[in-house]
Symmetry: C2
Subunit: 451 residues, 2 copies
């Protein structure tokens, strides 16, 4: 029995403790929890045997740094993860409270279980096992964990931008993605970028009675609807002028590989998504729609009356949360300028519209033909017993582009989530067999790299 | 000095006490306040000298009834008003708390000040003054006050429908409208009807990550926007098939009278509404747009993420509050069927849409050529010192149609609100000189009718 097998219940207890901290970075009242989560990760790194573990303070939430550099001549790996989580709402849809982790069957349910506390702990426990059993690591290892991934904070980007010598590495390992299917080891080689906006539409300076003024007063709710419809058509085509200009189609090889992936559309639609049917650009195949095409999604609209019963009010203001995902050679600055111009053109009479950018990240695409990715594919194959597949993800991990741009290192995205893990949704979970095998796979990865 | 002049400070104290009761009928947690407000009105009626004052219990909030029938051979007037109020949100826009009435200058600020507690008290205090000073009333008087006007409760309609003998009357007097301008006594002869809907659009059965599923998942927020845009165009034309079929234009005489009303469009737009410009059907004159044309307004959209920061979620559900106002020969049942059919036709792929009716009232139009309206015009002219004008209101007072249909009595809408009283909005107020003159005008009205 290996160290990893012996300590599974300790790993689980550690994960539960981590998950009990409601480190929600989008809500300022959770600042103390953010710090508790950072301290927890720091202590875990120290206990694992990492050196120079410390918090890096800056403009936002602290970064957690640690290193072990006892393998001269060997490559250096920079582990990345985040200790912050998404807000848990809507709370009433959780079967168990989001910050009281509960194991049901082979899964642990809690906000952050998969995204990303479970996967951060995979990295730490992998290193811990090697250090505890052999007293050393096969390669040099650094950790850089952040607490603003879910809120688009700029602390990590600012820090990496300054190119501190201690971040020097040969490759980054990001554990924040998912496997294509259960039992199918997966490396993600492409991520969509994103820009997240708050669109504020203002009509009158106070709410108006819809009986008295209906027919004369501008209605910001109606205006938001008109702007949204002007930005995207009923078939899912984004109508922002120029938006598709820099979109690159996937290569023929990639398309062929995607077509070979085992896939049950009915299962995906009805079980995983819980939907009736798929939507989106009808002429684009599914994987391409979610991995290699830009999107525009409305997340919510605030304003007016939404409570119980009826209130006949024309709201003074409506605030919409809208994001676009970016792919290929699309860039945040240009996409934002296009979005703002399209909103301006679509704004109806009688209201003003203001666009504020809350969050952004460039898209990224990694060439899979490099030794750090090959080693990862091999390690996962050995642990999971199956050939590793290469996919992209529709999500965004802005730090991957940041590591590429400022440190010049490729990111290896070894992810252990599952498609039905309910990221950013109620009842987020992490599949415990993946937690335990993930730890072993990361340890195996370091061993292969050290050979 | 008359009784009315002597007792102004008592009237004001009474109004403040009434306004301190948060009798919000749309929120079930305020049930006890509803009862307190009903009891308050009941006790005021008793103290005024009305007889047989009692609560009429039924399916919803109690009706308050009282009568004084000591004028045989004289006409009988049925006073109507409502003791319930709108919710106060958005709370943070109130300059003083909505249920702590505050007098600033000549105005009293509180939820319900004008709509309708101030005007209910006008009726009661008018009767009180006559009874206290002369020991009798010039005509027979009945009161029927309700507590569900703002929530579309059906108690009053059910009760009136049963045609109880004690509601027999020659005319109803409704004090729940406004004057066209300060110092301009006004009688309202037309009201729009309304149907208030809750539109629930469901996509997947749980919230989805917009990165992972964006491009494939149905987005109910986007779908609501598409439905809204299909129901009304950018120029304010309702696109529901058949919706305008039974709309009747105002008569040439009415149009001429409206054109003579003193009106400053800039003042109306910028001061009263606090807007930049007016919108709505460009080919229709303003008063006709707000008094004699149907509308469709979105009041709010619930669902998804609207909090601080960024949450990348495709919501499972969006719930929109939408109402239409009706005019002319439009009828609730037909308008609702048209609305539902239009929503069904506009519902995009991947989502289901369900329409629930929360509230409705038929439009009404009174022929101004009747003695009860003539007497009212004369009474207001005597008290305010100016000729009374006839207008319509864009709002809805469903009970007017109910009195007409089931009791066969015309309603005299003597209103004492002002256009800037912020009905249904933060900082609702009532102009105290109108409160005091309103009491005198109603008393004078009863005297004229008794002659």
């Amino acid at each position: 029995m290996t160290y990893y097998q012996q300590h599974q219940s300790d790993f689980l207890e550690g994960l539960k403790t981590f998950l009990r901290i409601p480190s929600i970075s989008t809500l300022s009242e959770h600042k103390p929890d953010i710090r508790r989560a950072a301290d927890f990760a720091l202590n875990e790194l120290r206990a694992a045997g990492m050196t120079k573990a410390e918090l890096i303070e800056g403009t936002g939430n602290p970064l957690v740094y640690a290193e072990w550099l006892g393998a001269p001549g060997k490559p250096t790996i920079l582990f990345y993860g985040h200790y912050d989580v998404q807000p848990p709402d809507p709370l009433d849809e959780w079967k168990s409270p989001p910050f009281e982790p509960e194991v049901r069957g082979n899964d642990i349910f809690a906000r952050g279980a998969c995204d990303d506390k479970g996967q951060v702990l995979i990295q730490i426990k992998a290193v811990e096992g090697l250090l505890k059993t052999t007293g050393k690591l096969p390669v040099n290892v650094k950790f850089l964990l952040e607490g603003e991934e879910e809120t688009g904070g700029e602390h990590i980007e600012e820090y990496v931008k300054s190119k501190p010598p201690r971040l020097k590495a040969d490759a980054a390992v990001v554990c924040d993605t998912e496997m294509f299917a259960p039992e199918m080891p997966t490396i993600c080689v492409g991520l969509r970028g994103m820009v997240y906006y708050e669109l504020t539409v203002q009509g009158a300076d106070h709410d108006l009675h819809s009986g008295v003024y209906g027919g004369a007063a501008p209605n910001p709710m109606q205006a938001v609807a008109e702007i949204i419809c002007a930005l995207k058509d009923r078939d899912g085509h984004i109508k922002i002028p120029g938006f598709y200009d820099r979109v690159k189609p996937p290569s023929a090889l990639e398309r062929q590989a995607w077509a070979r992936l085992p896939f049950d559309e009915k299962e995906y639609t009805e079980k995983e998504m819980g939907a009736r049917e798929l939507v989106g650009e009808p002429e684009v195949p599914l994987f391409e729609r979610v991995w290699a095409r830009p999107t525009l999604e409305v997340h919510g609209i605030r304003g007016g009356f939404t409570g119980e019963g009826a209130k006949t009010v024309i709201p003074a203001r409506a605030v919409a949360k809208i994001s676009t995902r970016l792919v290929g050679d699309q860039r945040v600055d240009e996409a934002m300028a296009q979005f703002k111009a399209a909103v301006k053109a679509a704004t109806p009479k009688g209201v003003t519209a203001e666009v504020k950018m809350l969050h952004s990240g460039e898209p990224s695409l990694t060439n899979p033909d490099n030794p750090f990715i090959h080693a990862s594919a091999e390690a996962m194959k050995q642990v999971f017993g199956k050939e590793t597949v290469y996919i992209r993800s529709g999500g965004s991990i802005p730090v991957v582009g940041v590591f590429d741009r400022y440190l010049g290192v490729p990111s290896v995205m070894m992810g252990f989530g599952l498609p039905d893990d309910n990221l950013h949704a109620p009842n987020e979970k992490f599949h415990l067999p993946n937690f335990y095998r993930g730890i072993e796979a990361v340890a195996r990865y370091l061993e292969i790299l050290g050979q």
